[in-house]
Amino acid sequence: MDRTEVYTRLASVFQDVFDREVALTDETTAADVPGWDSLNHITLIGTVEDEFDVKFPMKDVVGMKNVGELVDKIIELSK
């Protein structure tokens, strides 16, 4: 899976979770997306896991800093 495909599917996840279109880049963080609070973060991570059929190890969930790192992790786990 290449980054473009991951981004396309990720955009649709964000659309469903936050109910709006979100422009995503590697640098996007929670601060950039209205509604991305600590509670919705859980929903987001869960929905991403569903979409890509992956399960993030606990230490990775804690460590991810931005969307770029999330995409890296998805690609790594779906190899």
Binding site: V13, I42, G46, T47, D50, E51, V62
Partner: protein, 594 residues
Amino acid sequence: MEDFLRLLQWPLDGKALARKRIALRRALLERSGLLEKRIAVLGGSTTHDLVAFLELFLLGNGIRPIFYESEYNQWWEDAVFGNPTLDAFRPDVIFIHTSVRNIREWPALGAEPSDAGVEETVAKWRAAWEKIAEKFHCPVIQNNFEYLPYRLLGNLDGTDLRGRVSFVRRLNVAFADWARTHDGLYINDICWQAADFGLARWHDEAYWCLYKYAMSREALPTVAFNVANIVKALFGKNKKALALDLDNTLWGGVVGDDGSENLELGTETAVGQSYTEFQQYLKDLSRTGVLLNVISKNEPENAKAGLAHPQMVLKEGDFISVKANWEPKSENLKQMAQELSLLPESFVFVDDNPAEREIVRQQVPGAAVPEIGQVENYISALDHGGWFEPVKLSGDDLKRNAMYRENAQRVQLQNSFTDYGAYLDSLEMKATIRPLESVYMARIAQLTNKSNQFNLTTRRYTQEEIEQAAADSAFITRYGKLEDRFGDNGVVAISIGEVKGDVLELVLWLMSCRVLKRDMEFAMMDEMVAAAQTRGVRLIRGFYYPTAKNGMVREFYKTQGFTKVSEDAQGNAVWELDVSGGYEPKNHHIKIDR
């Protein structure tokens, strides 16, 4: 929209629900006639996602919830010490979402095995329930405990009193004992739900440590679905009747083609056994008060031959209504509902044929039409649906099928009379009409929540509120219980009036449709007026608030001799009857026991 609604039915697709929930919520909120309820969720873990799912399932049941959520793990503090926000919230229901993660003190391995720890733990919860009962007078839904995902003592964990499996089991028994002996506490059995779901998938250590989720994200819809089923049952949104197909639903094969002697039924074949077990399940279900009916595309004599099959567990007498013809099933269902004085949406329609299911879905909105799969899945599909979720089994529930059968006999008798009054006299009716009594409180509360059609104000009461009204001298209350030569109809009518000076305002007036046209409403009015007159009341004031379902009583007060004094654009009307100059009793056919 219909596809959306199917997401709310068993089997649950947690992933799709989570993904689509915002759009689903939006669509559900557009539906009209939603009943608003205030629900306080007191959590022992994170409740954010859980509440979101709960909202969807409640909306699917026609209930629009307004939520209060306790701060993280503040369930006990909120319940016992209260807080201003919760106090002002005035909940209609409180849901205590605790789990095995909230057990603080486990039996010590070094100690003598004993039961003491169970009592200590239960005492903590009991303090919360008692405080809530005292303060909020509302029903409480309480999770019991699921097992931990590990067993320190292996299989001995369930036997040794120091084992945690054993501890959880005994706590659950203690919770159930309390719920059985105290009104207003309802157990949400997450122990069973976790077993059904799979304990290994239920627990998610990562989500617990990261987000303080008591159970996995995947399991949350199951919990929310079950809680919603209890809530909807408390507020009278249960289904009441089944409409069952025959061919390949109650038996294997098509009776018109194969002949009744060749149907698959009974224990000789695996498939036959499956149908027999499904019938046994239905028979047991009917004993809880669910009404069984048949809608089948068949020649009547073929249907009859099938129903007379010696291996049938269900006999013709187990069904209230059997419709075997070639009319569309949706039309049969509507007609059947009318004949039984039920609403079409009170039915669950069970048919193996997807085309029949689809037409009923489209033509009878509100009726439940589960996907039932193959015969070996019928029981599971119907059972998990939670359509009939009882919150309490009253004597009336257990007798309901008999009552409906007796009604069918009354109709036969009625046909033999030309004079309706003579028919009523022949029924030899006896009514007990008295102030609300404690033995009937559960049934009375149930009636206020289930009656939709013959209900003037559609005011819903919890059992606690009913008890308060009964104890308050500002109110005149009466229940009516009706017996006749065919049997006991049980408690069928409730009236509550509030005395305001020399005026009696009828805040609640309802009757079960199973005793329509028996003059019971006149007997009730006679008693209310008589009671009011002894209190110096000179004027009786009645209210009619229209809903989608109570059109049949729009002119009720007119038939009682009242005069309409006002009516607004929505049809809300106020009626009055002056009783200062006397009152002529209107019941002539029912003997009254006061």
